[in-house]
């Protein structure tokens, strides 16, 4: 464990980021267990408890009964602490699942394109090129306008935005790996194409993609927040961090800072820690720097 940590990074800031990320992930996972309120259940909210400052004890008329609003409540009487935990859940869900889906899909296509070349390659890469010639935010904007709202839809949109990137990266990795002699050896040994693709090519194309996708999770979360901030993507009753920031902004300086401030801190903390950890991962996994 100690060794692992040393291999990861000797610097305090990097370790702090890892720790913060772990805490955030655990908090998000355990949200339904530790949050005093289900912020997505309208029956548990009371507008009368709207915009309560942190620490207020109130809430006589809600399904959960009176409670402490440790981080205050939003305009709908949503407990901010619960809302942030659930928001983290959404952010992580959206970031992880869109990235994983895109990774899986893009990786498969990229591997096939890179390994087989020919028309498969041409077809996949042309589609990816076209996809990549649209800026991500524009695709997401138009797509979400078409799809409507919901976690599934924003995942779809973010998936659509990302897959081509992985396809291209995986393809170039596959092109490099395909020409390495262990693939030639595998072919000579009469191994089946699927075995070569998945047992030999895939594991070797994966590491750079894993680093990329770790960073991509952060940018997907950020993009989700931006889209939520722009008012598309998620339903208002199931706010993600971006949406909480967005709704809270109008109260920020009226004095009700907590509605926007705490989710903002959570979002920034989440993205920064993912990026920091991913950044370390990149250095740790980069063989060129490792040799040093």
């Amino acid at each position: 464990m100690r060794k692992l940590l040393d291999a990861y990074s000797p610097h305090f800031a990097d370790r702090l980021a890892l720790f913060a990320l772990l805490v955030l992930v655990v908090a998000a996972l355990a949200a339904p267990l530790i949050s005093p309120q289900n912020p997505y259940d309208l029956a548990q909210l009371n507008i009368a408890d709207g915009r309560l400052p942190p620490g207020t004890h109130a809430g006589s008329d809600t399904a959960t009964g009176p409670q402490h609003y440790w981080l205050g409540s939003d305009d709908q009487g949503r407990d901010m602490f619960s809302a942030i935990l659930y928001g983290l859940r959404i952010s992580l869900t959206v970031g992880l699942s869109s990235t994983l889906l895109a990774l899986a899909f893009g990786l498969s296509l990229g591997l096939l394109a890179g390994y087989f070349g020919g028309w498969i390659d041409t077809a996949v890469m042309r589609i990816a090129d076209i996809q990549l010639s649209f800026p991500a935010i524009l695709i997401a904007l138009v797509l979400l306008a078409v799809l409507g709202q919901g976690v599934g839809k924003i995942i779809t949109a973010l998936f659509a935005v990302q897959w081509a990137y992985y396809a291209r990266t995986a393809r170039s990795a596959a092109l490099v790996e395909r020409n390495k002699d262990y693939i030639a050896a595998a072919r000579l040994l009469g191994l089946s194409t699927w075995r070569i693709l998945f047992r030999h090519l895939l594991p070797n194309c994966l590491p750079p993609l894993i680093v990329v996708s770790a960073l991509q999770v952060a940018s997907a979360i950020s993009l989700e927040a931006t889209l939520s901030f722009l008012g598309i993507g998620l339903p208002i009753t199931e706010p993600s961090l971006g949406l909480l920031i967005s709704t809270g902004f109008q109260y920020l300086m009226v004095g009700d800072y907590w509605i926007s401030f705490f989710p903002g801190i959570a979002l920034v903390l989440l993205i920064v820690s993912i990026n920091l950890v991913a950044d370390r991962l990149r250095d740790v996994l980069n063989p060129r720097l490792q040799k040093q």
Binding site: A43, L45, I47, A145, G148, G231, P235, I236, S246, F249
Partner: protein, 531 residues
């Protein structure tokens, strides 16, 4: 529904501005003769006949005038016509104002009126045409240069109201002009208090005082209307004295602005009528049981259910808390003071027990599930209002999901009746309540031009008959009664829609500037005065 289509970006409703209250910079730059206003829309044209859109019309109101105007109380007032009367059931006569000059110096005559009434029909690519208001006219007769008679096929009691929408332009100046010519300021064909200096789409409209104006001269020699749809940007612009007046103050800033000694705030109950439409069809797409399974029978079809919904909504909480007081509970399409206001129509009070009883009577003692839809970028705190309603209904047993979306995606879906239950606001213009009655409540009938926005599929022949009669009744008293009756049938008896409140329109200015607030929410430089 609103007619100002350019949405504010809700999402950028960030409001850090008030921090500036303590730091607000001293006013600078602007001399008393110069006025800069921040608008919340970005109108696309200054051709008064191109696009039937409130923001465009408000912009054009600086340069052009109609025959009949709407005053600051929402009532008809003489403008380029000094008086009007019916000659017979189908003919109106307008006496025109004497001594009015166009910006190019030519005289205003009846011929210009004829030209202006004909011009809308010549603009083929209009996204929303003004012919709505002119097509009832079948004949135009110039009695003398300052008198004109307009004949309609059927009795048209609302013609003067319709003509508040038609701006008069000079035939000489505009006969060959295109919309682009108007936008580029090549047409000096208005009679209004300001002349166009430069229109920069998406940025601003620059105006100069028209010294030959027939009425009270504007207090400002030059006016710039800046288009600042972004709320925080607009607020910041006022606080940093970039502009001296803004419209649509962010709801949660109103009280802060009021207590700021450098600012004035002006409020007026708007004629924007907010309500929920409910699906009257046999089945409705988003109505489910509590577990989320679709129901084969639509509970909303039952008037008792609709009434229960209305009773579950605490309108005072909505207006006081959610809207930060920028709303007045109201059940009446015609707000108090407007022609056709029905004093019998009162908003339902919160009555959870009563509502539950009604639901039980209707066969839903345990309630049901529903999704409420609405825009998130259009009305004051629309998203918060919808969520609050969701809470209120859920509390009463109707488990409610809330879906909000930008106006652009919301409206087309609602218009296709894909949603069933949602929030709508209707700017009741023209000084009388016929437009919401006609558009929202009348049975859809393309030929008669009724029910174009009847998304709830409400249909009551008695209401229709009453409304149609009203629309052809010249006598003001009788017509007003018919309007009142029609509203009562649909809203009080049938609970066809669930009325909520009227918005309160707001403006804020730097100290030293006054604005006369208007119920139509328009921001007009001629109504801005130095203190």
């Amino acid at each position: 529904m609103s007619s100002s289509i350019l949405p504010r970006m809700t999402t950028l409703r960030a409001c850090f501005v008030s921090l500036a209250l303590a730091f607000a910079a001293a006013p600078h730059g602007a001399s008393a003769q110069e006025l800069k206003i921040g608008l919340s829309s970005s109108p696309v044209a200054v051709d008064p006949h191109f696009f039937n859109n409130d923001a465009v019309s408000a912009l054009c109101s600086h340069i052009y005038e109609p025959l009949v105007a709407i005053d600051a109380d929402g009532k008809l007032a003489p403008a380029l016509a000094v008086s009007w009367r019916t000659v017979n059931d189908t003919t109106w006569e307008f006496k025109l104002r004497k001594g009015v000059k166009f910006h190019d110096g030519s005289d205003f005559t009846a011929d210009d009126v004829i030209f202006s009434l004909e011009r809308p029909a010549t603009i083929a690519n209009s996204p929303s045409s003004f012919t709505t208001y002119t097509k009832s006219i079948v004949a135009k007769k110039v009695v003398d240069p300052l008198t004109i008679q307009l004949t309609t096929a059927a009795p048209a009691p609302l013609l003067p109201n319709d003509l508040t929408r038609i701006f008069i332009v000079s035939r000489k100046a505009a006969e060959k002009a295109t919309t682009d010519d108007f936008n580029q300021g090549k047409v000096e064909g208005g009679t209004g208090p300001f002349k166009l200096v430069k229109f920069s789409k998406g940025e601003n409209l620059q105006l100069a005082r028209f010294d030959g104006y027939w009425g009270n001269k504007a207090a400002w020699s030059s006016v710039t209307l800046k288009f600042l749809p972004n709320d925080p940007a607009r607020m910041a612009a006022l606080l940093s004295s970039d502009v001296q007046l803004i419209e649509n103050v962010q709801a949660n800033l109103v009280s802060q602005f009021k207590s700021n000694k450098d600012l004035n705030v002006f409020e007026k109950m708007s004629n924007r009528y907010m309500f929920l439409y409910t699906d009257h069809r046999d089945t409705s797409p988003f109505v489910t049981d509590k577990a989320g399974k679709p129901l084969d029978k639509n509970p909303l079809k039952d008037a008792r259910v609709r009434e229960a919904i209305s009773k579950l909504i605490d309108r005072n909480t909505l207006t006081e808390k959610v809207l930060d007081k920028l709303g007045v509970p109201n059940a009446n399409p015609a707000p108090p003071g407007m022609f056709g206001h029905n004093p019998n129509l009162k908003p339902d009070a919160l009555d959870i027990a009563g509502a539950k009883k009604l639901l039980a009577e209707a066969g839903y003692p345990d309630g049901f599930g529903i999704t409420i839809f609405g825009p998130n970028d259009r009305f004051i705190n629309d998203e918060q209002v919808l969520q609050a309603i969701g809470q209120m209904l859920t509390r009463g047993g109707i488990v409610t999901k809330v879906q909000t979306q930008p106006m652009a995606t919301y409206i087309p879906k609602a218009a296709k009746k894909e949603l069933g239950f949602g929030l709508l606001g209707w700017g009741v213009g023209g000084g009388e309540p016929s437009s919401p009655l006609r558009g929202v409540l009348a049975t859809t009938d393309k030929d008669k031009g009724l029910g174009a926005s009847n998304w709830s599929s409400y249909s009551n022949p008695k209401f229709d008959a009453t409304l149609v009669e009203a629309l052809s009744t010249i006598d003001d008293k009788k017509r007003e009664k018919l309007f009142q009756d029609a509203a009562e049938i649909a809203i009080k008896n049938d609970h066809a829609i669930i009325p909520l409140y009227n918005q309160v329109a707001t403006w804020a200015s730097r100290k030293g500037i006054r604005y006369t607030p208007r119920p139509d929410e328009a921001t007009l430089a001629q109504f801005v005065q130095p203190e």
